[in-house]
């Protein structure tokens, strides 16, 4: 049985998540402690800033779920009230579904973000290194990664940027095609401008120029990008040379006027110019947008694009839920087969099939036997088969009564090729 216990950004306030996160990080032998809990066969733990979750393959689900919950409560120093309101527990298909949704980033704060898959992979790697996982969880995790991959490729859930800075980069690509060799000018120094600039460089943009009221500050930032610094007085000239402008000063009036843009465009022989104005109040005269070959986006324009993309992601997540459902059903049916009874049944029918086939092959000479002798041969064959099958079937039954059958059942399925 698979169980999942944990808390996330929806159920627990930041303060609780912090405490638990810190507790998990400090503890060296968390997995060891978890495995020491009676009835826990396989286990792994995932902790990110938004969630802490334990996934385990266990024998007696209800009892162990409570044990795991109080384990987490102890590590996070949660009060009984907090534990009751923050911690959730799922079992069987619910647990599998939750894990698949988390891995596919359907449960994330920003739906479709890419980090969570890496974090889950890390968690699995850790557990694997300590031998804390076994047949059930190994398969479960591989299925989770597969589901995440399918969701990524088959739906548009992660297709479009949902942050203003990435939206600006995407627009730049739609204007210039490739960003390699493109020159960027940053006017002023805001966090958002820097972030956008970093993304632009990550996508191939080169040669950063920084313009600021104070040249010293401009130089400081320019050094970071190994670019050059100019004062605001030289803005005219800088505009002629660059392709992308990101402006975010605190100036009360327009820093870049329509005339400046018009003038520089003539000088730059009408090469396309992308202006991003993320300042409030605005830095760039909106009239500049009326000029041919100039594309001016302000913070609201970018936010509109982001909002639209977020809406699209929600729409795509419906498709993704369908994929998750499919994968959950597949895994659950595989897990059921790991139980002893169906395996015993299929082992029997497999062997009986072999007997039938071999008897049919021998039909030629057996037909010459007296009917009495034939019955004796049949009895002999069945006797041998039953004797051979008796021991493995008995062991499987015994083990399943003790809730330890999974490994041995899996071994039997493999030895007798029952899954072929």
């Amino acid at each position: 049985m698979i169980v999942l216990v944990g808390l996330n950004h929806r159920t627990a306030p930041l303060a609780v998540r912090e405490r638990l996160f810190a507790g998990c990080q400090e503890e060296v032998n968390l997995l060891g402690d978890l495995r020491a809990i009676d009835g826990v066969r396989e286990v792994l733990h995932l902790y990110t800033c938004n969630r802490v979750e334990l996934v385990a393959s266990v024998d007696k689900a209800p009892v162990i779920m409570d044990a795991l919950k109080s384990f987490l409560a102890r590590y996070g120093g949660l009060t009984d009230n907090e534990a009751a309101s923050c911690l959730y527990g799922y079992r069987d298909e619910e647990a599998i579904k939750h894990l698949f949704r988390v891995t596919s980033s359907l449960d994330s704060l920003v739906v479709g973000e890419a980090q969570i898959l890496g974090q889950v992979k890390d968690a699995y790697r850790q557990a694997l290194a300590l031998n804390a996982t076994g047949i059930a969880l190994n398969r479960l995790m591989h299925r989770a990664f597969r589901t995440a991959k399918r969701v990524r490729t088959e739906t548009g859930i992660a297709a479009n940027p949902v942050s203003v800075s990435f939206a600006a980069v995407e627009l730049a690509k739609k204007i210039f095609g490739t960003l390699s060799g493109k020159k960027t000018l940053i006017i002023g120094a805001g966090e958002m401008a820097e972030l956008t600039c970093t993304h632009l460089i990550g996508n191939g943009a080169e040669e950063i120029t920084v313009a600021n009221r104070s040249l010293a500050q401009a130089e400081l930032l320019a050094e970071k990008y190994s670019g050059k610094a100019v004062g605001l007085d030289d803005l005219d000239e800088a505009l002629c040379d660059v392709d992308i402008v990101i402006s975010s000063t605190g100036a009360p009036s327009y820093i870049v006027t329509e005339d400046m843009v018009r003038h520089c465009l003539r000088k730059r022989k009408n090469r396309l110019l992308f202006l991003v104005d993320i300042a409030v109040p605005r830095d760039i005269d909106p009239a500049a947008d009326d000029i041919e070959n100039v594309y001016l986006y302000n913070i609201d324009n970018l936010q509109d694009i982001v909002d639209e993309n977020i809406k699209n992601r929600r729409r795509e997540s419906i498709k993704a839920e369908g994929i998750v459902q499919e994968e959950v059903a597949q895994y659950a049916s595989w897990l059921k087969e790991l139980e002893a009874v169906p395996t015993i049944v299929s082992l029997r029918s497999r062997v009986e099939g072999i007997v039938r086939m071999e008897m049919a092959k021998a039909e030629n000479w057996m037909s010459q036997l007296e009917s009495e002798d034939r019955e004796k041969v049949d009895a002999l064959v069945n006797g041998i088969v039953n004797k051979i099958l008796h021991a493995p079937m008995a062991v499987m039954k015994e083990e399943s009564a003790e809730f330890h059958s999974q490994d041995i059942v899996a071994a039997a399925r493999q030895l007798f090729r029952l899954d072929d």
Binding site: L171, K174, I175, G177, N270, L272, I305, E308
Partner: protein, 274 residues
């Protein structure tokens, strides 16, 4: 026409039809993958058409005896070849949405022509006529491409200017790539058309003895040549780029199209081949 030639032509036509459908579907469902696949299918069609034309040259009386089918096929072949060639340089797969239907139209028109029908009257056939035709066709094909890129530029420009790029904007090629194709189309199309016209002029001057300017097609072509020359001049010397070039290329193309139709249906000219 051998059966192999017919098979190759049918394969080319099929490839082009599939590519056209693929491109249009790609625009409809907004998936770039379809356009990419269509580009490969179009490339396959192009190879078949190339083989078809080569066989035709070997089997029939060679390049000097143009059938009307081949004339139209070469139009389709030139447009497809130039479009595919440019795909190596720029990633503008979606441009095929405009180009592939055009190629298909030429191929369908070609299919409707008897292969034995002579394009050029026997007494005019000669290598100079062939050079004149091929160069003029190549030049015109490049202009077609430049204008198609211009048209797509206008759409993308509109989306970006209105701050609503959306799915469509994401699908269409970038402005720079489209502008580059427009540039290359004009840059190569103009000299080719010029050479083609010079070829025709020399031929006319020798064979007909100075009769050439009286033909309406010649006068119209000259006008088109001047318009494209003007566009290229503005681009290279004055530095016009982007939106303005896109609009002007489309206008020039419409002019070109109208003149071609007008001459085909309303005026008597020695250039009425089809």
């Amino acid at each position: 026409m051998t059966s192999l030639e017919i098979t190759l032509f049918v394969l080319a036509l099929t490839g082009c039809t599939l590519a056209t459908v693929g491109y249009l579907l790609s625009l409809l469902v907004k998936k770039i993958v379809l356009a990419k696949a269509s580009t490969w299918i179009l490339a396959a069609g192009f190879v078949f058409l190339t083989l078809n034309l080569l066989l035709a040259a070997v089997h029939s009386s060679g390049w000097e005896n143009f059938g009307s089918r081949h004339f139209l096929s070469i139009y389709a072949w030139a447009i497809a070849g130039i479009y595919l060639g440019l795909q190596f340089k720029t990633k503008t797969r979606l441009l095929g949405t405009f180009i592939a239907p055009l190629i298909l139209l030429f191929l369908i028109a070609a299919a409707g022509q008897g292969s034995d029908k002579n394009l050029v009257p026997i007494q005019w056939q000669g290598w100079l006529t062939t050079v004149h035709l091929v160069l003029a066709i190549a030049g015109e094909a490049l202009f077609v491409l430049a204008s198609a890129a211009g048209a797509m530029f206008m759409i993308q420009n509109n989306l970006l200017k209105n701050k609503k790029p959306g799915k469509m904007g994401r699908l269409l090629p970038s402005l720079s790539d489209l502008d580059r194709i427009n540039h290359l189309g004009l840059l190569w199309g103009f000299p080719l058309l010029t050479l083609g016209m010079i070829g025709g002029t020399i031929y006319a001057a020798f064979v007909w003895g100075g009769l050439w300017p009286a033909d309406p097609k010649v006068i119209w072509s000259f006008a088109v040549w001047i318009v494209y020359g003007f566009l290229l001049h503005q681009r290279l010397a004055i530095g016009w780029k982007g939106a303005r070039m896109a609009v002007l290329s489309c206008v020039a193309f419409l002019l070109f199209l109208l003149s071609a139709l007008f001459i085909r249906f309303c005026v008597a000219t020695v250039h009425n081949f089809i």
